[in-house]
Symmetry: C2
DNA sequence: CCTCAGGTAGAATGATTGCTCTACTTGCGT
DNA sequence: ACGCAAGTAGAGCAATCATTCTACCTGAGG
């Protein structure tokens, strides 16, 4: 990952850009070569098949995404959570207006197991870091659910999607606080209120 | 839509099955013909291009999905909401284990505007009917966000994704009740329950 | 009996694709 | 000065795909 030659990094960045801009079915290898600004020969030297190029683009994006979302968050768990949601909005605006690249990749090639594994690792690492930042290890899945919903809603509602996600996050925080106060016995939905 | 000949319906159902099982890039027209159990000629007669076949499959699924999710819901808004979430879980289990077909279609062909419009109409109609069933017209976007997040999480967490969605729905209900009680400002915890 | 609308099977076509290969260039260490 | 590692440009190849076309079948109605 970090032991990438300069040219390899340039290629991976170009691949990510191409796939992010046009999805995973449209760009043929010639287009990928143009995006990587490298000859076909060299492209195939580092990534010997188109599928490898897809994986390279996703690995590259994974790193970029995590640093962008989790670098220098506020110390307060609540503020960190809200800030993550806002950053996802900015990320969508500037880099992923068509939706999550990992889901797109899996959707374009559902039988590709390596891709599905990569998606799973990506989402799980994101969820863990989010739960850690928000100091809500019990609610990892709920937090991930909010962020996934946000990314799906964003193409439809733009900034309103962010507002909804923030709203839900606030509701979750308030709700878990209630649950803690009542010794957790109010765990099941039926018993709440 | 409802003025479809018998054979046209059979074709659309077969197309939906094929795309749901294998995504939108893998099945070639021969495969679609096999799924539709019809000759290539007839297939092209009703849907003169592969893209038309994709649209037909999605229209068909749209109808099937809405009836399956919203038919005969409980009268209580809260129970209706919970039931919708559970039904989405069952739907994923039995019909959409790879995720939302509409998102998959758009992911496979991001430059296809007709597809994007269809996705938008599908999600918006779903959101409206859900908000109406749950009697929460103010929170249409939040409800849609929960359901979208659930559909994304389902392939990763299965039934646990449902639990998380139910948990979030409960939090949202509790939270909006508090907001109403306290005129919009988040009130003291004691007013909940 | 004949017609014909509406079906079937599947070969032909033209374009595109992922990938390989040949031939040429360039920069650097000794 | 020379060799070589590592790049470029782009032609060629086998496979695949969407689409069209030819040829044949079938059953209901007059």
């Amino acid at each position: 990952m970090s032991n990438m030659s300069e040219i390899q990094t340039q290629i991976a960045a170009g691949l990510e850009r191409a796939f992010a801009a046009h999805g995973f079915s449209v760009p043929n290898v010639d287009m990928l070569r143009d995006a990587a600004q490298v000859s076909l020969r060299t492209l195939y030297k580092y990534y010997p098949s188109r599928n490898d190029m897809v994986l390279a683009a996703l690995e590259f994006r994974h790193e970029r995404y995590l640093t962008r979302i989790f670098s220098g968050l506020p110390a307060s768990p609540r503020d960190a959570l809200y800030e993550v949601i806002r950053r996802i909005g900015h990320w969508m605006e500037s880099e992923a207006s068509h939706g999550c690249l990992f889901h797109s990749a899996v959707a374009a090639a559902p039988e590709n197991e390596a891709l599905r594994n990569l998606l799973q690792r990506h989402k799980q690492e994101f969820a863990q870091r989010l739960a850690a930042s928000a100091k809500l290890p019990e609610n990892e899945k709920e937090l991930l659910l909010i962020c996934e919903g946000l990314m799906q809603l964003w193409p439809l509602y733009r900034d309103d999607a962010c507002e909804s996600a923030l709203h839900l996050a606030a509701a979750l925080l308030a709700h878990t606080r209630v649950e803690q106060k009542t010794d957790g016995s109010i765990g099941s939905i039926e018993t709440v209120c």
